[in-house]
Amino acid sequence: MKTIKKIICLFIVFFTGITISNASTQTFDRQQLNNYGVNKKWNINSNNLSNVLNTYKVDASEKIYDYSDILTDEEEKELYDKINKFISKTNIDMVLVSVDLPYYSDKTNEDFAADFYDYNDFGIDFKNYSGVLLLRNTYEKDPYFNIYTFGDAQLYFSYNRLERTLDYIYSDFHSGYYYDGIDTFINRMTSYYNSGIPNEMKGYKVNEDGYLYKIYRVPFIPVILISGIITLISTLIMVHKNKMVFTAKKATEYLDKSTINYTNKQDNFITSHTSSYVMSSSSGGSGGGSSHSSGGSSGVGHSSGGGRHG
């Protein structure tokens, strides 16, 4: 049995070696001795070991991993310069991956992207492992692309911003103008970074494990408003206590109730009408913002856009 497994493993390694050697990207072996090539603090155990082993080990400084050969060497060089400019300006890592990966659900793409990012040395200075990864899956049956964010990049590139970016680059990607699409992507990311963390993400922070969490912020306007009303009412009650003198408007206390005598007392029903309306079942357009991180096999959080097929 063991020998069969070894043969299969060797076959996989050999086969992937051939595939990869066609691309311009260098890959390395993962071995137990060097913590399977994972430099980050992630705990490698029996649950995620196969994920680690199935993830290409690459040189994180290359930034562009074009397994599907969608860019020419020249384009790669230009984009590489632009990416480095983005990184040095923002301190957020940027990774481009093209791969031909068969899949049944979008989750497969997401898992691939998260593992690729997590099990290589991406993330600048490892603080929050902040970075953004653009994945192009050129799988012939259903081409797919999406943007994944890690660490503090989740704050800058909110779901809504990622969705807008995906819309911007859709036509270029769909038509195969990858250089233009990726160029637009880098420009969008740069300008989003320049405009700062969007309001929708201002109530969030990223914890040590890369998950978004909500931070408590004092809702000043409601607090001031409610306190103001309470103060006004209590002051009015106190002021009112000092005013004791009132003009009498009624004489009810002098009424002898036994003398109330009706000679006519009728409640006549005249007409009635019923109106109705159908309440709309949707509770208004929801923004669709997913302000929570998903967990990768490493146990670390990341966020993503909605993804596009095409």
Binding site: K214, Y216, V218, P219, P222, V223, I224, I226, S227, G228, I230, T231, S234, T235, M238, V239, K241, N242, K243, M244, V245, F246, T247, A248, K249, K250, A251, T252, E253, Y254, L255, D256, K257, T259, I260, N261, Y262, T263, N264, K265, Q266, D267, N268, F269, I270, T271, S272, H273, T274, S275, S276, Y277, V278, M279, S280, S281
Partner: protein, 358 residues
């Protein structure tokens, strides 16, 4: 030339000293010889209580505007303005009951004698700050009381029958939901009411010198203590005669009884969402008018050069009056309330945040 009119005083049958009505025991007591007298005992002697002095002489239209009064004790002129009906001689302190202002058309039908004493009014004033956070700290001090007088105030009492129709347009609105359809049913009704009701003893202050609102606020008086009028009850107190005649005073009682009658008739059927009066023919008629004197302690307070008026119901002890505001306290309490509210609101919002909402 002014005409001299009789002044009554009330002397102790034993020693001849001034005899005052004692609200505590409801009798007349002499401070000098400790004699205590009931009305029957007093009436055996010739003083303010006597049958002769209380008899109505049926002299119509006595012109009392040019009348002078002289103290029975020392002969000095009694200083009294037109409304004053009972006072004291400023020279000797003797009781001075100005008979002509309490006779004929000014003769009261009945009186509620004082049941409370001066010191009770002072105590009530001193307790005024209780439960009222914005009373200036040194306001309720006895030393601020400038003047405190027990006064019999003239009141008109009306028995009123209100009769007529009251018609309303009324609506009942009910709402319910089936599935995601919301229904609103509006039912329209016409309400017809015709009938009558009677009010007994609606009081109206008959003196312009006392503000109606403060007199309204010390209501109600318990009429079971109303007793036949006798001048002797006034000894030891001030008294006023009316200067608002019955017809004028009735306007106030009319308004109040009509408002009450309308409210009673409108509210006798429940369950309507709204009612609009379409016809109101309710009208009051007087079934009985009485002129009475009611006991009131008037307390004049001077605080920081401003005058404040308080009144205590001389029968029930109800003490009323508007108290000045301590603005500094108001600001301080306002700030404290605001700060506490802010802290509580923040705590609540934080708890909601922890609970996962918000």
């Amino acid at each position: 030339m002014s005409k001299r009119e009789a002044v009554l005083d009330n002397k102790c049958p034993n020693c001849g000293a001034t005899l005052a009505f004692d609200p505590k025991i409801g009798k007349w007591s002499c401070k000098y010889c400790d004699g205590v007298f009931t009305l029957e005992e007093l009436q055996k002697h010739n003083n303010a209580s006597s049958v002769k002095n209380n008899a109505n002489e049926n002299k119509d239209d006595v012109d009392i505007s040019h009348v002078s009064y002289h103290c029975n004790n020392c002969g000095a002129e009694i200083i009294a303005d037109e409304q004053t009906a009972a006072t004291f001689c400023v020279y000797c302190g003797n009781t001075a009951i100005l008979k002509s202002k309490l006779s004929n058309k000014f003769a009261p039908n009945r009186i509620i004698p004082f049941k409370t004493e001066k010191k009770q009014a002072i105590e009530a004033f001193k307790k005024l700050a209780k439960g009222k956070p914005l009373v200036p700290k040194d306001f309720v001090s006895e030393k601020n009381i400038e003047k405190i007088r027990g006064i019999y105030i003239p009141f008109w009492l009306y028995d009123i029958k209100v009769e007529g129709n009251l018609d309303c347009d009324a609506q009942k609105i009910s709402t319910w939901t089936v599935g995601n359809t919301h229904y609103t049913k509006t039912s329209i009704y016409k309400l017809y009411r015709a009938g009558s009701m009677e009010f007994y003893g609606v009081p109206v202050d008959g003196s312009t010198r006392f503000a109606n609102d403060i007199m309204n606020t010390i209501e109600p008086f318990r009429y079971e203590d109303l007793t036949e009028y006798n001048h002797a009850y006034l000894s030891g107190f001030y008294a006023e005669k009316y200067d608002v005649n019955s017809d004028t005073a009735f306007e106030d009682a009319k308004k109040r009884s009509l408002e009450s009658a309308k409210e009673i008739m409108m509210n006798d059927s429940l369950g309507y969402t709204s009612k609009v009066v379409t016809q109101n023919t309710l009208s009051p008629s007087i079934t009985k008018t009485e002129y009475i004197l009611l006991p009131v302690w008037m307390v004049n307070v001077k605080y920081k050069n401003e005058m404040y008026l308080f009144a205590m119901n001389g029968q029930t002890g109800e003490f009323v009056g508007n108290i000045p505001l301590d603005k500094t306290k108001a600001v301080v309490y306002g700030i404290i309330t605001f700060v506490i509210s802010v802290l509580i609101c923040i705590l609540v919002s934080y708890l909601i945040f922890l609970g996962g909402g918000y």
